[in-house]
């Protein structure tokens, strides 16, 4: 078990190295250079700046310096926002994205399990039909449209109420987070609902449910102790990839709702070609996702003894 996770962790580190290298050489294959701005500069200034950012070194040396800095957790300095370290940008804005993401995962997880269990309980009756219709809508409508429509509805709600019931954008209190997190979690929730429903229906037909029924276990207890607990397992396996989906989805929600999260800064850095920020954020996100997937696997092994991770 421990050996398995040591192996997974090592492989995770190799993956991060792969991401970092691909990012580095990718960014350096791009013609043009980060100092070619609209400001005119003398060769002397240029040489000084190149020396400052280490751009006068050969590519191999730059790569080694870059890897060394990353190993120490240093992502460098932003090119467009002078004197702002990428680490500071991440430290300042990632907690906001993370809070939003965690809230969205909570919404998606709770909602998915609840709605999925409901549809399975009332199979082919009206709750099933209504919820599955909503699920299909949730899967088919792009997140930016959902975000735009919900913001539009918020404007309408606030106008109708004559006061600010819920803020339509920005960041601060819990009220700012509710709607964006809901929007962010919506497609994951729809996906989890589908998964939960099929998993529930599969569990209903198993022998241990029949045995429990034969023993005379009350239906509510069968539902909560046998059916639900077994049906939740596949939902947990997809939580790792779901976190990845929610991180990318976060870009759109952060832009639409004007939330100062890391996703918005990433998109902004892309548009401004701020190389260090792009590289730093990419490596950071990559590392984050790799560890999330390992964590979910570890968690899965803990709650389901049948999963023998060492195989």
């Amino acid at each position: 078990m421990l050996k398995y996770f040591a192996k997974r962790l090592l492989l995770g580190l190799v993956t991060i190295w792969f991401i970092a290298s691909a990012t580095f050489f990718g960014m350096h294959a791009v013609p043009g250079d980060p100092l070619a701005g609209d400001k005119a500069m003398t060769p002397q200034i240029r040489a000084n700046l190149e020396a400052k950012y280490g751009l006068d070194q050969p590519l191999g040396t730059q790569y080694l310096i870059y890897l060394g800095n990353i190993a120490q957790g240093d992502f460098g300095i932003s090119y467009t926002q002078e004197n702002r370290r990428v680490n500071d940008i991440i430290r300042e804005h990632f907690p906001i994205s993370a809070t939003l993401g965690i809230l969205a995962i909570v919404f998606a997880g709770l909602g998915g399990v609840l709605w999925g269990a409901l549809t399975a309980l009332y199979r082919n009756q009206w709750p099933d039909v209504v919820i599955m219709f909503a699920v299909i809508l949730g899967i088919s409508v792009p997140s930016f449209v959902v975000a735009a429509i919900s913001q539009w509805s918020l404007v309408g709600l606030n106008l109708a109420a004559g006061t600010t019931v819920l803020p339509i954008g920005g960041w601060g209190s819990i009220w700012h987070m509710l709607v964006p997190a809901l929007v962010l979690g919506l497609s994951t929730m729809a996906y989890l609902t589908r998964l939960m429903r099929s998993s529930m229906l599969e569990v209903v037909g198993t022998d241990y449910i029949r045995t429990a029924k034969a023993k005379g276990v009350p239906p509510t207890q069968i539902f909560s102790r046998h059916q639900l607990r077994n049906a939740i397992l596949p939902v947990i396996t997809v939580l790792g990839p779901a976190i990845a989906g929610i991180t990318t989805g976060g870009f759109v929600v952060e832009i639409v709702f004007a939330i100062p999260g890391l996703g918005r800064y990433f998109v902004q850095a892309i548009q401004q070609l701020d190389y260090t920020v792009i590289m730093g954020t990419t490596v950071f996100y990559g590392a984050f996702l790799v560890f999330m997937v390992i964590l979910v696997d570890l968690f899965y092994g803990l709650i389901d003894p049948r999963v023998r991770v060492d195989q």
Binding site: F18, T23, V145, V252
Partner: protein, 457 residues
């Protein structure tokens, strides 16, 4: 014993019976059977019809609706579907000097009145200078009574008249005149005047836009019909229907070709890996794991630059290449799993025993048996490819203006969502319908093709 009466005739073979050997139904191949099951699924058939309609919409549509998607109709900018498209011929615009003021009676205490009928060339307002000599003029598209806002401040004016020519569109405007004190503070006694602006065009402009012939005799005040835009126009006056058709070509092209290409790559990679097995398989799958971890967005930018495409230019091909290079591992893993399973099946051993070569076994037995799964994967990848295109265009990394795509149109439409919702709603609806149709078709195909997955949902 004695009752047995057997004659030699009893030992004759029976005449061959036709009924026993008769085939009551035609023999169905796997695909014919799958098609039969699919055609019994009303949701799948409806979605198949919808997909056919969408493909026709983007392919035959432009031939039927021959409007240039990048042509700007400057007389009809940002109009909704079914908007009034009459236009009145008017004299060419001449700057206004207040001597020409006609005397229209005013019934408010500032004497705010229209000096001439308001049209899209100009709105000419005049008022009586009483008390304060300086006034501030506001304009709003909504009634200030209900919204509580005076709108856009147009001018601070010493003379008692003003000619407004700022981006006038047909409709109702609410002008509010506020008297100012000597030090520029707004006094009480504001007056609001609702003004109906009609759309006008001069004869020269009408000829220029092809509404009338240069030799036609037209009188001032005559009404003409402008070009028809069934779904309205966008913020630059471009026809929405034509843009949706051309935009759909880009969206559906990426949505269908990217999955076809990367699933094919994944099938080849996965089947080679699964078939070879052992250390090769392990190495190949580790590499696939690394590719999965690569950040998609970053490589989109890289491909854009490698293809020599600047920030404002369209990047359909880089997007396609990036999707192929980055998204193949998922189908590769799936196919590898299938191949690993099938490799141990009895019919594969039998085929080998009978002397089947590797290529024959893979091509004749293994791949056809994974075909169902592959087809289902492609169908389910189409919606995600369309979403990816829309997402990338939405954040400005995908298809750039002026090339339309549904995602790019959503990106433009979201900016004016509150005043012109149709610009966002139409492309968003088409994306949703396409994704919905492919999802339902995927469900139906899975039920029809894959016996193991059947009824899984």
């Amino acid at each position: 014993m004695s009752s047995t009466n057997l004659s030699p005739a009893d030992f004759q073979p029976l005449p061959p019976s036709e009924a026993v050997q008769q085939i009551s139904r035609p023999s169905l191949s796997y695909w014919a059977d799958a098609w039969r099951r699919l055609s019994e699924n009303p949701r799948a058939m409806a979605s198949l019809g919808l997909i056919t309609f969408l493909l026709a919409f983007v392919s035959i549509g432009p031939a039927l609706w021959q409007v240039d998607p990048s042509a700007q109709d400057l007389d009809q900018i940002g109009i909704g579907p079914g908007a009034d498209r009459t236009v009145t011929i008017a004299a060419p615009f001449v700057p206004w000097s207040p001597q020409q003021q006609s005397v229209t009676p005013a019934d408010n205490n500032l004497g705010l009145r229209l000096a001439m009928q308001a049209n899209t060339q100009a709105v000419r307002l005049a008022w009586t200078a009483t008390g304060s000599t300086r006034h501030r003029l506001y304009r709003n598209v909504f009634d200030p009574e209900t919204t509580g806002s005076l709108g856009l401040p147009l001018v601070d004016r010493d003379q008692p008249w003003f000619e407004d020519r700022l981006d006038l569109q047909p409709g109702t405007y609410y002008y509010t005149l506020v008297p100012l004190s000597a030090d520029g503070v707004e006094n009480d006694g504001a007056v609001t005047l609702p003004v109906d602006v009609i759309r006008v065009i001069s004869i020269a402009q009408a000829v220029d836009r092809g509404l009338i012939d240069a030799n036609d005799t037209v009188q001032l005040g005559q009404r003409l019909k402008l070009a028809w835009h069934p779904l309205g126009t966008d913020y630059l006056g471009r026809d929405m229907l034509a843009r949706l058709m051309y935009g759909g070509q880009v969206s559906l092209f990426i949505g269908i070709f990217a999955p076809l290409a990367f699933v094919l790559l994944g099938v080849i990679y996965g089947s080679v890996s699964g078939f070879l097995g052992g250390a090769t398989d392990q190495t190949m799958m580790r590499f696939a794991d690394f590719v999965v971890a690569l950040p998609f967005l970053l490589f989109m930018i890289l491909f854009k630059v490698i293809f020599g495409i600047g920030p404002g230019e369209s990047g359909i091909w880089p997007m396609l290449v990036a999707m192929i290079i980055l998204l193949w591992p998922a189908p590769a893993r799936l196919v590898r799993g299938q191949i690993l399973q099938i490799r141990e099946e009895g019919y594969v051993s039998a085929s080998r025993l009978l002397g089947g070569t590797t290529a024959y076994v893979v091509g004749r037995h293994m791949l056809p048996n994974t075909m169902g799964v592959i087809l289902v994967t492609i169908t389910f990848q189409v919606p995600s490819a369309i979403f990816t295109e829309a997402f990338l265009s939405f954040i400005g990394m995908g298809v750039a203006p002026p090339t339309p795509s549904w995602g790019a149109m959503c990106n433009e439409g979201i900016k004016s969502m509150l005043t012109r919702p149709h610009e966002l709603m139409f492309p968003a609806m088409l994306i949703s319908i396409t994704v919905l149709a492919f999802n339902l078709l995927g469900d139906g195909l899975r039920d029809a093709l894959d016996a193991r997955m059947r009824g899984a949902e």
